[in-house]
């Protein structure tokens, strides 16, 4: 047989050669000039008349849209045809239907609903909403499953605002059932609703309309979520296994040929791919010749040991396209190798999976080992870090999955504000990017080095005034003067948080920089972090009215901030600790060898954090702070550490921070609130309330303080740039 083929091939080639000899030469001989002529005589697809006389004579754009809307419905939905943008003119708001009494809602769906209700997008007023989410649990539509909810079609139809699903979002993890697990079988008609669904395939996915979400387990945490498992970035990675997989092989009903074929590339050395036939009660009925051996191998290895000791993890399709293996490997920093042809990867509208995974082709299973072996150590290091970034940012909790879904819709609705792939795929990610703040990446604190810009060279001092006679205070005047003397000061903004009229202009000191007074609306403490239009510089120097700072201290801290524009850079610091006895978080102002909070009574930070504080955090937290008249600084520290996952920075200071700590007899000042035990107790309470809100403790500790290079060195003071910092005696504080 083989010989015959070869014979035919040789003969055929011979004939071709002969033909070429006689025919080809002729072409070469008269070829060249002739061909060029032919090329130039070809008509272009476009000439002037085409462009000039071409005219859109369609009925009208509006009618065209209407016609399209009637034609492209249901499985042909696009945002342009099935979504009513006119409901979304204002802020992006989401309405959740109230849960009916007696309605069965699974734990996972409860988490989804709660996440939306607690988010900044939530509105209880359907007339303000852009997007609607039913409270009917549609997560599990496999009617053999215990979580299956009955009568969904009737319930959905009876939703007062359903309108054939327009502007609704349906969350779904499982569709179809044994034996075929038909992907679109939700057993109700989702109509024009956006499907946020796991295991979607390209074929059924309505592009830029549906949203592919990851399959997550029932016990996926609602908030916070565990950090990724990557703690060290060893180079080279040095994990024992190259590629692993452990999972079921389905013998009856739809399964996956890929899983059945995995044994071909299992080598028992660095590629460990294990399947078990044990599934359901009657597996033995269907078992094939490999089952005994496969089952035996399967039990030899522990999945978690494999997961944490392998560079790559295979994620082959199961009954459905997505599998739990995907999130598991992502968390474990085991680079997913995807073998699930046609799977629309989770959030792939915004996430660039090439940066965190290897896309394999099920038809080319045998190539997988050589493909993963060609991936170099540097790329592995980068892929693994990206798995962790994605896990921590978009996947580690139900809240993050839900917020990512909503943010994707927001990007489609406010198209001109949509965040680009650069933002979505780079720390700190799109969930903490308020698009209304700016379309210019340089005005955020996170990208200065990634886009090669420097943060602005000046700062705005924002001083919170809380006592009526503050303009008569010597300390206050001194503070304004010291700040104004800084070459980097652009403006001083006094926030008048006092229930009296703002003092006349003549009462304020004359300064080298412009001074503006804002009569705050609420007189509440949270107004100190409001994003005032008057703040035009990247850097904000937040100050209490009685802060004691010299110009040198201000200048030095600002110079440090310019290297760390994404952190809070300040002077006095505090720490958090876990109180075993009470089993809750504690707050301490004692002198410690480390710190995790920098007080915002004197600190530099990027003005973007004002926007996050006032617009990203839910109003509930700000109200709490206002109610206590305290803890705003703790909340700000929580927020910033939550976003950047790094500690604040403490710079050196003279050891007296507040005037009150000098036991001054200044008549203006009330008894220091800082010395009151209630104030301190409130701060303990805040720590725990905030940790509870974030779902984890975001604060991170640091053991270092940044000092000027020549700080306290045995060298003439004249050589030192920041002399004042050393001039005042250090004195311990009392509380």
């Amino acid at each position: 047989m083989q010989a015959k083929k070869r014979y035919i091939l040789v003969t055929f080639s011979g004939v071709l050669l002969v033909l070429f000899y006689f025919g080809g030469l002729r072409i070469l001989r008269n070829g060249n000039g002739h061909n060029v002529d032919q090329l130039s005589s070809l008509r272009s697809y476009l000439d002037h008349d085409d462009v000039h006389y071409d005219q859109d004579l369609h009925i009208s754009p509006r009618q065209r849209r209407v016609a399209r809307t009637n034609l492209y419905k249901n499985h042909k939905c696009r945002m342009e045809t099935c979504f009513d943008f006119s409901l979304c003119k204002g802020d992006f708001k989401v309405y959740v239907y109230p849960t009916q009494e007696g309605e069965k809602v699974s734990e996972a769906y409860q988490k989804i609903l709660a996440s939306i209700r607690e988010s900044r997008f939530y509105t209880s007023d359907p007339s303000k909403a852009c997007v609607f989410v039913p409270s009917i649990d549609t997560l599990d539509r496999d009617h053999l499953s215990p979580d299956y909810v009955k009568n969904v079609p009737t319930k959905i139809k009876s939703l007062p605002l359903w309108n054939n699903g327009q502007n609704h979002v349906i969350f779904n993890l499982y569709s179809g059932t044994w034996p075929d697990y038909t992907e679109l079988d939700l057993s109700f008609d989702q109509g024009q609703a956006i499907l946020a669904k796991a295991s979607l395939s390209f074929h059924n996915f309505r592009p830029k309309f549906d949203i592919s979400i990851p399959l997550f387990p029932k016990d996926h945490p609602k908030k916070g979520g565990n950090r990724g498992d990557l703690q060290t970035n060893n180079f080279p990675i040095g994990r024992k296994y190259l590629l692993v997989f452990k999972g079921k092989r389905y013998l009856s009903g739809i399964g996956s040929e890929t899983r059945n074929a995995l044994f071909h590339i299992h080598n028992g050395q660095d590629i460990i791919l294990l399947t078990t036939c044990k599934h359901g009660k009657s597996w033995e009925k269907y078992k094939d010749a490999r089952c005994e051996q496969d089952n035996a191998d399967f039990d030899k290895y522990d999945f978690h040991i494999l997961l944490h000791n392998s560079t790559f993890c295979l994620v082959p399709r199961g009954r459905r396209l997505g599998s739990f293996r995907f999130l598991e490997s992502l968390q474990a920093a085991c680079i997913p190798v995807l073998l699930s042809n046609g799977w629309e990867l989770p959030f792939s509208e915004v996430i660039d999976w090439n940066k965190a995974s290897i896309l394999g082709d099920e038809r080319l299973l045998l190539q997988i080992p050589s493909i993963v072996r060609t991936i170099g150590n540097e790329e592995i290091m980068s892929l693994r870090q990206q798995t962790q970034f994605l896990w921590d940012t978009y996947f580690s909790s139900v809240d993050k999955i839900v917020m990512t879904t909503l943010e994707i819709i927001q990007d489609r609705v406010h198209k001109h504000l949509a965040r680009d792939g650069f933002v979505w795929n780079r720390s700190p990610g799109a969930l903490v990017m308020v698009p209304q703040y700016s379309e210019n990446l340089a005005s955020f604190p996170f990208y200065t080095s990634a886009i090669g810009v420097k943060p602005s060279q000046s700062f705005t001092a924002v001083v919170l005034a809380t006592t009526p006679l503050v303009t008569q205070s010597v300390t206050f005047t001194k503070l304004l003067k010291s700040v104004a003397k800084s070459a980097h000061a652009a403006k001083i903004l006094v926030l008048w948080n006092v229930d009296r009229p703002v003092p006349l202009k003549s009462k304020w000191p004359t300064l080298e920089v412009p001074l503006a007074v804002v009569d705050t609306e609420t007189k509440m403490i949270s107004s100190r972090f409001y994003p005032y239009d008057q703040i035009e510089t990247d850097a904000v120097l937040s100050l209490d009215e009685d802060a004691l700072l010299t110009t040198d201290e201000v200048d030095f801290a600002f110079s440090v901030w310019q290297s760390f524009a994404d952190r809070i850079v300040g002077y006095p610091s505090r720490s958090h600790f876990w109180d075993e006895a009470k089993s809750k978080w504690g707050y301490t102002s004692k002198w410690t060898n480390d710190y995790s909070i920098v007080l915002t009574g004197a600190a530099f930070y990027h003005r973007y954090y004002n926007t996050l504080f006032s617009e990203y955090l839910p109003a509930k937290l700000r109200h709490r702070v206002d109610e206590l008249g305290n803890c705003e600084d703790i909340l700000m520290n929580f927020l910033v550490s939550h976003v950047i996952k790094l500690p604040p920075i403490k710079v050196t200071q003279r050891k007296i921070y507040k005037e009150t700590m000098l036991q001054s007899t200044n008549p203006v000042r009330k008894t220091s609130e800082w010395l009151e035990p209630q104030h301190f107790n409130d701060r303990q309470t805040c720590m725990n309330e905030f940790a509870n809100y974030f779902g984890y403790m975001p604060l991170v500790r640091s053991q270092m303080r940044l000092d000027p290079v020549l700080y306290k060195d045995m060298v003439s003071n004249l050589r030192k740039r920041y002399k004042q910092i050393e001039l005042v005696d250090a004195r311990p504080r009392t509380s």
Binding site: I358, D420, G421, A450
Partner: protein, 526 residues
């Protein structure tokens, strides 16, 4: 380029395409087969010969936006005209009433009786409004890009060219057709910086992917190539970030504070100073987080002392012998280094206390992608000579740390060994100098960050090292180091070093606080 024809203007081919990949201009989202077909731009051969000069950001553009399409629907035209009525900075052009026979009809457009040259007029506006015509794909998009004008696209369900790989959010304002009347308010909300970066992006897309039929063809093939070999695909950044890119993303980009438990590996390069070497080993073995000592024996004439003679320490000690006496051996990524953190330390540096070393390691954990060292040094530009100068005096700034004792991530050993640009590595080996400068350069170049100096240390000096010979040797050594900086900066094509004014000290350093309560007490002598 132009699928379909009157009256339906099918958005794909009028013939059955079967399994063929269609690279087409003007797909709608329903005819486009996701991740299979390729949407290409509608290239305009008619203005290919017209040269449009590059206009810088500073170029005065008379109009915020221009609409210069002729075949658009009359409803769109009415809407555009009414926008233009409100705002003088928006120009809407149409065919001229009287067509001069000598001029090609496309090259002249009119606003009332005013005539404008096309496509030159596109360069007079910041934004170019492109609405759908009879077809979804419009040459106007290509023309705008060629002119460096930022497209404002209103063409519902149109699949933007190469949108599989190109991120149009960076280069265009894409709106729903219904939002046409909001154009003025949306465009005025975009900041000058935003405009500048979009314009840069438009230029980049145009030059690389749109400027000619060849560019379009090559881009199409590249897209297919990426689909066939997804594991080796061109990345988002490579497709979308304009080059040269002034930005730097650290290769260790994940915000991570590595655990203390892994500790660090001390790597000591030594030639024949065995006594001093042993002293250093004894000294550093007191550091709690030390996990291993690796001695790099750089002397091929002499064997290292027998195992019995080495100091007995409670940490593993390994010796590797090198084949050649090269300075770069100190930065080689030896397999024996199993920790992330490496402490490079000279065989004569005995003054660092365990507290100082331990603190250095703690600071490295907070900055795992930086060089963390003790004495700092500075580079300065000498305006007179036009050269860089190396500064070791007591300055208020620093941009380098000496690697006589410095912590760094093992990845940087790999970079030093395998990715050092130009002939820097060989030059260092030949001149037996500047290896630390080379290390500072490569780390700052890859991370865009300055090193961290810890504690006040100013010098690594041995008490015996005085005497005139040494000083003069020292001076020529210093001159050479200045030359190194100039040489390296030339090779990099820029100055990667970053200057800072701070150093890291323990939180309670020099604070009036009982010493016994401070975690790092023994810090501070110069």
């Amino acid at each position: 380029m132009l699928p379909g024809s009157v009256p339906d203007y099918n958005t794909a081919l009028d013939v059955h395409r079967g399994k063929a990949i269609l690279a087409g201009g003007g797909f709608s989202t329903w005819t486009y087969r996701q991740a299979y077909d390729i949407s290409v731009p509608v290239y305009n051969p008619l203005i290919a010969h017209i040269d449009l000069p590059d206009r810088p950001d500073s170029y005065f553009r008379r109009f915020v936006a221009v609409s210069a399409q002729v075949g658009i629907h009359s409803d769109f035209r009415h809407q555009l005209n009414s926008i233009a009525m409100e705002s003088e900075s928006i120009l809407v052009l149409d065919r001229c009433q009287s067509v001069n026979e000598d001029v090609l009809p496309m090259n002249k457009l009119c606003h009332g009786l005013h005539e404008f040259q096309y496509p030159q007029i596109l360069q007079e506006a910041t934004f170019c409004i492109i609405v759908r015509g009879a077809r979804l794909g419009q040459t106007a998009l290509s023309d705008a890009m060629k002119a460096g004008c930022i497209p404002v696209v209103l063409s519902d369900t149109y699949v933007m060219p190469f949108s599989d790989v190109l991120d149009w959010k960076r280069a265009a304002v894409i709106l729903n057709e219904e939002d046409l009347d909001q154009i003025p308010s949306i465009l005025t909300s975009i900041s000058p910086a935003g405009i500048s970066s979009m314009r840069k992006q438009v230029k980049f897309f145009w030059n690389h992917y749109f400027s000619s039929i060849t560019a379009i063809t090559m881009t199409t093939l590249k897209v297919i190539n990426d689909r066939v070999f997804p594991y080796a695909a061109t990345t988002y950044d490579e497709w979308n970030i304009p080059q040269p890119d002034p930005g730097v993303t650290s290769p260790l980009f994940l915000p991570l504070i590595p655990p203390r438990s892994q500790g660090f590996t001390a790597v000591i390069l030594t030639y024949d100073r065995v006594d001093s070497l042993f002293k250093v080993i004894m000294e550093i073995s007191q550091t709690p987080s030390l996990s291993k000592v690796l001695v790099v024996w750089n002397n091929q004439q002499k064997m290292p002392p027998p195992a019995a003679e080495w100091p007995k320490i409670n940490k593993p000690l390994k010796v590797v012998q090198t084949k050649e006496n090269k300075l770069s051996n100190r930065f080689y990524p030896y397999d024996e280094i199993e920790t992330e953190a490496v402490l490079a330390i000279d065989d004569d540096i005995i003054m660092l206390t365990p507290d100082e070393l331990e603190f250095g390691f703690e600071v490295w954990r907070e900055f795992p992608d930086r060089l963390v060292g003790y004495p700092g040094r500075l580079h300065l530009y000498d305006e007179e000579t036009g050269k860089w100068k190396y500064e070791s005096e007591w300055t208020n700034d620093l941009s380098m740390v000496l690697t006589g004792a410095a912590f760094y991530h093992k990845y940087f050993s790999h970079l030093y060994t395998n990715s050092m640009p130009g002939n820097i590595k060989n030059w260092v080996d030949e001149h037996m100098n500047c290896e630390d400068i080379a290390m500072n350069f490569i780390v700052s170049n890859y991370t865009g960050k300055a090193p961290i100096k810890v504690t006040p240390r100013k010098k690594f000096k041995c008490p015996e090292c005085t005497g005139e010979q040494i000083i003069s040797a020292d001076q020529s050594h210093m001159v050479e180091r200045s030359e190194c900086i100039t040489r390296f900066a030339d090779i990099y094509g820029r100055m990667p070093l970053q200057t800072v004014e701070f150093r890291a000290d323990p939180v309670l350093y020099k604070d009036p606080f009982p010493e016994e309560l401070k975690r790092f007490r023994d810090v501070g002598s110069l």
